[in-house]
Amino acid sequence: MLEVVGLSKSFALAKPRGRPRGRAPAGPPDPREDGRRFHAIRNIDFTVQTGRIVGLLGPNGAGKTTLLRVLSTALRPSAGTATFDGVDIVREPLAVRRILGFLSGNTGLYGRLTPREMLVYFGRLHGLRGPELERRIDDLVDRLGMQSYLDRRNDTLSAGMKQRVSIARTLIHDPSVVVFDEPTTGLDVAAAETILRLVERCRDDGKTVLLSTHHMHEVARVCDRVLVVHQGELVFSGSVEQMREHGEGGTLDRALLSIVGEGADA
């Protein structure tokens, strides 16, 4: 189970963001700026049951990526904490990383390595060795159909092949929690479908999944629950059906706009 309690993250601003001289203000001031700090996420609380898929929605710049980075221990929270099955992200970040997989649409590959070499590298970094590591690689290669390019350099692979290698890298240590940060961004229909099947497969395997996305059809298809973040705060938490009730005609797009305000860039 994932429990998030009072999670906040702020960044120091190099200098207060002022309006350039002689220019009219571009819009209302960002409520997340406080003197010399930018509060990317503020006081977020939620709970996710094991084996569930939770969709994380919100406009660009809402704080979704910061939230996922804090949960995955890439960033340290300014306040609050979160626990994965009792393992605390602040006190035991290394233990969290052992049970967590992270896949982002922006994640790159080591172009001069082959998929096999990359899987061996990340497997070793996660403490896997010998037959156990080989077995894990063989399993992922079979599941993702990577046999034909396992020993080709990553920089020669197509976008779809690269995405499969990224998935295998994410799952090499068989994490119990998987975080997907806009994983289908820039992918064609076939590659995006691979990702969605993987997300569903993770749930079937009993893993907890956090999925950040802008695509409402993905939310409707795979998510058990939805969280909406806006201007760094959690503004909605509920089931997909509960979210639909916020929008005219029952569409998730309208519901999201209704939750975050019509003017938001969702």
Binding site: T73, F102, R112
Partner: protein, 399 residues
């Protein structure tokens, strides 16, 4: 702890080994290009000197009637050819145009039997110019004849007495420094300069690729999420950059050594003798000096690379750093700059000067130990800063 560092080290080494740009800077340049550059340079200089020594020098003489025998002496000397020139005022333009290589102007005698003063007009800019020594040789020969005639006219016919009157006191040089020290002083500064520059160049590309390159490719975030402490990631990367620097420096040594083994004889016996007189202990000590050098460069470059957002940004930071490396390394090549406790406190310059002392065979080993210690300490501090950088969110996720 060790396995995390080794895993990162092995993977980064594998990637670096497959990067063509790194291989060129790390292996091809020091191993092949350095001997090639030295060969071309020495050939070029030798050809230029040979040409300057054997080329026919066109000359004009003014006031030859004031020094009898001058025109005849030059006319009878092979390699000199008289060219008519109307007026001494035309000399500078004639030299500039290349119509003449030199002009001699004999000044009027101050008194009968006095000293003849001959002005030499020539282009004194080219370093390889042989106009002055070749002209001086002819004038010295003429001067000897005039001196002999004048002394004979005074009744001094014995050549030994003539020398005693003409040059009553003669200094004969007997240097106490061994040939190794003399030549080491002249060429010893160049070798550490090359080692240091190629050590830096060899470490540069891996350093940029291993941190700023990871940010640019979007692979850094995945590395930050593996369950090993971040200082282990930095140490693994540092070891690869350090290895690249050491390999480059050693290959520079091998490239130079190979060239000297094949072509050293052409430089003359003295340099060959100097190279042979550098013992195994000195070579080990020179190699030892390169270890903290590579460590300093690896840590410094990694610091910058971790801070930079992209490959390009890292390159723009490292470009001015080149000067900070070249200038202290260059100090050892300057005449009069010696290794002492003051110069031993200047990073990089101290290593450059220490290698020069080792080549000369005049190393003060207490200073050597101090330089090794301070350089290792500096590398450790820079490495510590790298690990601090690698823990800072505002550095890793700079916007």
């Amino acid at each position: 702890m060790r396995s995390g560092i080794l895993t990162v080290f092995r993977k980064e080494l594998l990637e670096v080994g497959r990067d063509r740009k790194t291989l060129i800077f790390m292996i091809v340049l020091p191993l092949l290009l350095i001997p090639l550059i030295i060969q071309i340079t020495t050939d070029f200089v030798a050809d230029a000197e040979q040409e300057a020594a054997s080329a026919t020098l066109d000359y004009a003489i003014f006031g030859q009637e004031r020094l009898p025998g001058l025109a005849e002496t030059f006319a009878s000397t092979p390699g000199f050819e008289a060219v008519p020139l109307d007026d001494p005022a035309q000399i500078p333009q004639a030299v500039t145009d290349g119509r003449i290589d030199l002009a001699l102007v004999v000044e009027p005698l101050a008194q009968a039997g006095g000293q003849h003063v001959v002005q030499l007009h020539y282009n004194n800019a080219p370093l390889t110019s042989k106009v002055k020594p070749r002209t001086n040789e002819v004038l010295t020969r003429l001067g000897s004849d005039v001196r002999r005639e004048r002394l004979e006219a005074l009744g001094l016919g014995d050549p030994a007495l003539q020398l005693g009157v003409a040059e009553p006191v003669v200094m004969v040089e007997r240097g106490t420094a061994p040939m190794r020290e003399v030549l080491g002083e002249r060429i010893g500064g160049m070798l550490p300069y090359m080692f240091i520059i190629f050590c830096f160049l060899g470490a540069m590309y891996p350093a940029i690729d291993l941190a700023a390159g990871e940010k640019e490719r979007g692979t850094l975030e995945t590395l930050l999420l593996v369950p090993i402490p971040r200082h282990q990631v930095v140490l693994g990367k540092f070891l690869v950059v350090f290895t690249a620097g050491v390999v480059s420096a050693v290959l520079t040594l091998v490239g130079l050594g190979g060239w000297l083994a094949l072509k050293g004889d052409e430089l003359g016996g003295d340099i060959g003798a100097v190279m042979q007189s550098i013992g195994a202990t000195d070579l080990v000590l020179i190699a030892t000096m390169l270890v903290p050098t590579a460590a300093i460069f690896a840590a410094l470059l990694l610091c910058i690379s971790i801070y930079a957002k992209s490959f390009k940004e890292a390159q723009s930071y490292i470009a001015p750093l080149n000067m900070l490396v070249i200038l202290p390394a260059f100090l050892a090549m300057l005449p009069g700059v010696e290794l002492n406790w003051k110069t031993a406190s200047i990073p990089i310059a101290n290593i450059s000067l220490a290698i020069k002392e080792l080549i000369k065979g005049t190393m003060d080993y207490s200073v050597l130990v101090a330089i090794l210690g301070s350089s290792t300490l500096l590398a450790a501090i820079l490495l510590w800063i790298s690990t601090l950088w690698f823990r800072r969110e505002d550095v890793l996720f700079r916007q």
